[in-house]
Structure formats: structure tokens, C-alpha cells
Assembly symmetry: C2
């Protein structure tokens, strides 16, 4: 199945999610890992659409989500950069575009290795806190842990 850029934008305006989480990770220098991901969830009847999107972006993993739903997740930073470049050339029309801009800002900061020091990590968390799709109490907890060293 071939997808056109406009179809992808329309579908992602409906079904896509730009998500950033920050998790405890003992092997990371700061003890925390920033995890930006682009996710599309579909009923497993439409799994073929997820594979078509995976081919379109040349990245990601299709897995069972929960129940009868599957999802495509793109997590690799250079792949996310490609996803962001695509949605800069072909802007989302929904309010999801606001979250996307913050998401892209975080991806660029990570490409710039800002997540490897405390100041950068706090800067990333502050951008993430402006997004809709996140676990706010969790981020505030991490932010406070980082500030208190």
C-alpha cells in the first residue's frame, strides 16, 4: 500500500501521538532517560496501515498494544529527526501540531546532547511540561530530583 504525504498528515492528525516520557535508568549518567516517541495505535484489523506507515518513514516497530490494538512506535533519535523533518515540510492541521513543535524541540535538544547534563535535562523537562500528552506529576518529580542533585 502506497501512502501519500497528505494522507499521512491527515491520518496522524487523527491517530498519531507525539509523546515524551522521562524514566529512571541507573545506567544513564544522570540516572534518568528521556524517551521521545512517535506512536500510532490502530485496531489490529488495520495492522497493514501501521506497516505501511513504517515503510513510509523507513523506521519503527509494529507490536501488539493491548487487547485488539496494535501500535507503531518510532523511538530512534535519527528516525525521529526524519519524522520531524517530514512534519515540518507537511504541517499537521490539528492542534496536535502544537505538541509536535514541542516534541521536535526536545528531539533537537537531544541531538544536541543536552539531555546529558542536568541543566539541559531540566530544560528538556520544562519543554515537555508544556505538552498535552505526558505524565505531568512524574515529570515534576524527576525535575525536582534533578534540581536537588
Amino acid at each position: 500500500m502506497d501512502l501519500s504525504p497528505d494522507w499521512v498528515v491527515g491520518f496522524v492528525d487523527g491517530e498519531g501521538c507525539f509523546h515524551v516520557s522521562v524514566n529512571r535508568h541507573p545506567e544513564m549518567k544522570l540516572g534518568f532517560q528521556v524517551l521521545p516517541e512517535f506512536v500510532v495505535v490502530q485496531h489490529s484489523n488495520d495492522r497493514s496501515l501501521l506497516f505501511a506507515l513504517k515503510r513510509f518513514f523507513g523506521a519503527g516497530t509494529v507490536r501488539s498494544n493491548h487487547g485488539d490494538r496494535d501500535c507503531l512506535r518510532i523511538r530512534k533519535l535519527d528516525s525521529l529527526q526524519n519524522v520531524c523533518d517530514f512534519f515540518m515540510r507537511h504541517p499537521l492541521k490539528s492542534r496536535k501540531n502544537v505538541d509536535f513543535r514541542k516534541f521536535r524541540q526536545i528531539v533537537l535538544m537531544m541531538l544536541d546532547k543536552k539531555h546529558l547534563n542536568v541543566e539541559g535535562m531540566i530544560e528538556i523537562i520544562d519543554v515537555a511540561l508544556e505538552m498535552n500528552s505526558l505524565d505531568r506529576p512524574r515529570l515534576l518529580e524527576v525535575r525536582s530530583a534533578l534540581l536537588n542533585g
Copy 2:
């Protein structure tokens, strides 16, 4: 906001619904009314997308749905014919296309006035029963009421 056909297809693949209900209606000859409708629901933050779709199809009504959600409904038969023509020229890529084909069949049968006699109405209900998005017990109840005169 200008929408391209491909964006509309992608968005409706994600967020659109082709729905058929059959309701008791004392003023109708058979006592029942077939109500096909094309519906798109969105968070009210994205109400502008619903108005853009309304302009795109040149039809429909945008209303508050429930809670913080709004919806565009297209119900007029000649407008639904235009919607169906559009999705024949620009096919949906998801499994929603299967329901759409049944929906279109019903719209064409109604344009052909089949819903005005018992045999036609039962034929319409039998097509509707093959769709995902419907109230099956309700349709079976109406079907049996029609058969038993």
C-alpha cells in the same frame, strides 16, 4: 484552512464514521425511518477542522457532541451521495472502506426509494446488518417488526 483530498481520506480513515440507524417514526409510511449519517468527532479545540470538512463537502452541521467533543454530521441524502462519490474517487485505506461500501449501497438504495416499501426496507436492513458501526439488536427488532407486518 484548505484541505486536500488525500488529507481528508487520511483523517477520515482515522476519525470518520459511516453510520446507519433505523428508528421508529410514526409519520413514515412503514412506521420506521432509515437514517444514514457520516460523522466526524473531534475535541472542541479542533472544531475548526470540522468546519473545514463541512466546507470541503459543502454540507453538514457542526454541533457539540458530549463533554468537550464536537461533531460534524452529514445526513441529507444528496449530500451523502456527494460524500460517497468523493470516497469512490479517493478510496479509504483502512478497513473502514468495507463499512463505507455498505453505507454507499444503502444511500443508493434510498435514492432509489427502496426504503419506502417493506421489501426494500428489509433489504436495506440486511445490508446494514453487515456493517460494524450499528445497533444490531435494534435492527433485528425492526426487521422482525416489518416481517410480521
